[in-house]
Amino acid sequence: MLGAVFNLNHPAHTVDWHFIHLSVANVVVIGLMFIAFFLAILLPFPGRSGREAARRGGGPS
């Protein structure tokens, strides 16, 4: 445990709701995946507008 940043020497904290039984660590990872998914949809990709403009103009892209 000396090398661990967090004290891991205890049972895992869990999220319990009806039949759902998840460790907090797994809930955090699932939440991060949702955040990454929605950011990937919403955030503009660098250079996309320039590529589309070049394609519409028929010039080299």
């Binding site: 090398g3 990872v29 991060l32 995946m33 990454a36 998914f37 950011l39 990937a40 949809i41 955030l43 990709f45 250079g47 996309r48 590529r51 589309e52 394609r55 892209s61």
Partner: protein, 234 residues
């Protein structure tokens, strides 16, 4: 030894190598296998997660080769060994993270459209094979953690009846699965998956597919190419 007689140009060769080459080039012409660019709709962050999965897999295999070369005493007892052990574990975490986001993205854009069913199926199988590939790593650590996990997991496997085929407490078997059989399966399946993506092109957005359908029917957007990856090259 005398030189083999030259085949007349007009006689088609029946050699299996020629047949394989011709089939391969027909299925995947060089310009489709290694294209100059991708359609403009690929310039989106959601399309990044597939190649991020491959990048993670490369790090997994590289770090796995290092710790396999050096052995368990090194990866448990030395600072550099801890570092590579951690790189191996966290690259697996990253692999599954980006692969799940990749799966979600492809699911919601119905990536099996346009004859891409095999692309979807091979991707799903990669995911299913990658899970035991990673889990056998937990029981290959050669520490008390691995002993605990293997004795717990064997009960789970036996409860569903697959314990007759493999034994999670058999270290040699699990280690072989983890560093040889399952990684080979994952790499082969990923290779087939990528080649199928190259062959079929990246799935276009829904609205673009509607325009392509209109183009095939001779509609107003008839300038679009129906078979080539649509949306213009970037």
């Amino acid at each position: 030894m005398s030189a083999a007689p030259a085949t007349p140009p007009s006689t088609p060769s029946k050699s299996w190598t020629v047949k394989v080459r011709e089939k391969g080039v027909e299925a995947l012409p060089p310009e489709r296998l290694l294209p100059d660019g991708q359609p403009t709709y690929v310039a989106s962050w959601i399309y990044v997660f597939g190649v991020a999965s491959i990048a993670s897999l490369i790090v997994i295999i590289g770090s796995g080769c290092v710790i396999a070369l050096k052995g368990p005493a090194w990866w448990h007892e030395t600072g550099v060994g801890h570092f590579f052990n951690s790189i191996h574990m966290w690259s697996v975490e990253l692999f599954f993270f980006v692969m799940v986001v990749h799966l979600w993205g492809k699911y919601w854009m119905a990536a099996w459209r346009g004859g891409r069913g095999r692309v979807w199926v091979t991707g799903a199988i990669v995911f299913l094979v990658a899970v035991p590939c990673a889990l056998t790593g937990y029981v290959s650590q050669q520490n008390f953690d691995a002993q605990w996990i293997s004795t717990q997991a064997k009960d789970a496997m036996n409860s569903v009846g697959v314990g007759a085929f493999f034994n999670l407490t058999n270290f040699g078997q699990m280690y072989s699965y983890h560093i040889l059989l399952l990684p080979i399966a994952v790499v082969l399946l990923v290779s087939v998956h990528v080649l199928l993506v190259r062959r079929n092109g990246v799935v276009p957005p829904f609205e673009l597919e509607e325009k392509l359908a209109a183009a095939r029917a001779g509609g107003p957007d008839a300038d679009a190419s129906p078979k080539a990856p649509a949306g213009g090259q970037s």
